[in-house]
């Protein structure tokens, strides 16, 4: 990886990590929302089994997508080799 000596380089790198953080926040917020709906259903006794059933499928999908995204961001941004 090139040394980030200049201010623009550091800005670019900070923004790139910002995108990675944004991805985590976005997907994390969706997972939190689904969890909130399960909690609400559980608290109100409003057929929580339906919420849990759907979430069992949905949350792992979101986590897998997040995993792939982070794998790419980490893999590219921490690469030290040149072409």
């Amino acid at each position: 990886m090139r040394r980030l000596t200049s201010a623009p380089d550091r800005t670019v790198r900070a923004l790139q990590w910002g995108i990675a953080a944004g991805t985590v926040l976005f997907i994390g917020a969706i997972i939190l929302w689904i969890t909130h709906l399960i909690r609400t259903a559980w608290r109100l006794g409003d057929v929580p089994s339906a919420s849990i059933g759907i979430s069992l499928v949905a949350i792992p999908v979101f986590l897998t997508v997040l995993g792939v995204g982070l794998y790419v961001f980490w893999g590219l941004l921490t690469d030290r080799s040149e072409r």
Partner: protein, 451 residues
């Protein structure tokens, strides 16, 4: 992967580096349509849903039709792109990017239709705070969120090497391209990461895409409404989605081929292959439609037959028969022989299918609500200028998003084209040899026993 100094694909960078007068005319025209949509929406927001043709018993009209239609078109992309990538179809290279862009754009437009249909968009907060997972509408919200997230990542990851080319070659928007290129140098490690991620996403998006449209169909088939409660609605919707998706992709390819002079990349052979796929999907669509209507007819349940005849010979007959002609008759006539005038025939069929699939969504949504099972009394739906404005605005917004995308990023994947030239040919030859039996026969082969 891609060498930034390679100038062979300058035609793909030209739309980004130079902007012609046609671009401004296009944006101006689309903006006018979007303005019409915006005025229509403001009127609806200000005065309520009463300004639309929506009423009891028809509470879903153009907006829900558009929602199902746009979500369907989104299948173009990811599904076609992912299947072609996984099957290593070499002709995919100039197609995948456009397909992936369509997916992301129309998902935004499709999801937006629900906000418009709500009448009061602030009530979206109620879904976030108090949503109940017993409702198929919330299954929809969840599955579309998953599909949109996966599609955005699936669009972005294969774009990274191209963005690095833009970073190194284009003088404009340096910061944007530098940030989005994620430090891409084309090293072996980075290529490995990218290829692995693309492969995982290609596998992941196929079941997500199929499930999304199945879940969209559940919004209808989980009810007890006549001609909605059907076990084949899931696959019927998926087939329709892929069908309309291919048609939309072909139209987009032809528009950008003409506008940006991409004849060297999007060749008649690409349209022939996609035309053949469209023909197969047309036949499949007809099969599902036939099965769906035959089952209803044979069952002869009074409420179902009421809707059935409303479509066949009642007030909805022009839409029903229009759908049959545009989705089956015209495509089959155009695509059954693609020897000559391939592009003209494929374009005619695709435009026809695009109209036909919108009609199909309309003919599913509205006639059932017009003739409900419960004794509400029948009703006919007449859209007002507000819904027409929203319809025009939505299509224009999709087109504008796409046009703006092509001004920022290559509409055809540059690195995949170069990879095809550099390593694709050799790979295909090697792969072909692995498919075929060994050519060297053993001299004294033993006769096979038994069979």
């Amino acid at each position: 992967m891609a060498d930034p100094a390679d100038t062979r694909d300058a035609a793909l960078l030209a739309p980004i580096e130079r902007t012609g007068r046609g671009f401004y005319w296009t944006v101006g025209l689309l903006s006018l349509l979007i303005l019409w949509g915006a005025v229509a929406y403001w009127t609806q927001f200000d005065e309520g849903l009463g300004v639309t043709g929506l009423h009891q018993p028809v509470s879903w009209g153009f907006y829900v039709t558009n929602f199902v239609f746009f979500i369907g078109i989104s299948h173009a992309g990811t599904l076609i792109s992912a299947i072609l990538r996984l099957s290593k179809a070499e002709w995919r290279r100039p197609i995948t990017r456009m397909a992936e862009v369509i997916t992301v754009m129309v998902l935004f437009i499709g999801a937006g239709q629900i906000l418009v249909d709500l009448g009061r968009p602030d009530r979206m907060m109620n879904i976030i705070r108090y949503g109940r997972y017993q409702s198929p509408l919330l299954w929809d919200a969840t599955s579309i969120s998953a599909y949109l997230t996966a599609s955005m990542i699936y669009l972005y990851i294969p774009m990274i090497p191209d963005i690095a080319i833009l970073r190194d070659r284009v003088r404009k928007r340096k910061l944007l391209y530098s940030v989005l290129a994620m430090g891409w140098t084309g090293s072996e490690h980075q290529q490995k990461v990218l290829n692995r991620a693309i492969a995982i996403m290609a596998v992941l998006v196929i079941p997500i895409a199929v499930s999304v449209h199945t879940v969209v169909s559940f919004v209808f088939s989980m009810t007890l409404q006549p001609m909605w409660r059907s076990t084949i609605f899931g696959p019927y919707f998926v087939v329709g989605a892929i069908f309309s998706g291919i048609a939309a992709l072909i139209v987009a390819m032809l528009v950008f081929r003409k506008a940006y002079g991409l004849h060297g990349y999007l060749k008649p052979i690409h349209f022939r292959y996609l035309g053949q796929l469209l023909l197969v999907m047309s036949l499949l669509w007809f099969y599902f439609t036939f099965a769906e209507y035959l089952t209803a007819y044979y069952g002869n349940e009074p409420e179902e037959m009421h809707v059935f005849w409303a479509k066949f010979s009642g007030p909805f007959w022009p839409f029903f028969w229009g759908m049959a002609v545009t989705n089956f008759v015209i495509p089959v006539l155009c695509l059954v022989r693609l020897g000559r005038h391939t592009i003209g025939k494929v374009l005619t069929a695709s435009l026809s299918v695009t109209v036909g699939m919108w009609l199909e969504r309309f003919i599913i949504v509205v006639p059932t609500l017009s003739n409900p099972r419960l004794p509400f009394g029948e009703g006919i739906y007449f859209p007002t200028w507000v819904e027409w404005g929203e319809l025009a605005g939505s299509f224009a917004l999709f087109a504008l998003f796409f046009v703006l995308f092509t001004k920022l990023f290559p509409v055809i994947s540059i690195w995949e084209i170069r990879e095809g030239r550099e390593v694709g040919l050799k790979e295909v030859e090697e792969r072909l040899l692995t498919y075929l039996p060994e050519t060297a026969e053993p001299r004294h082969a033993e006769p096979e026993r038994g069979w």
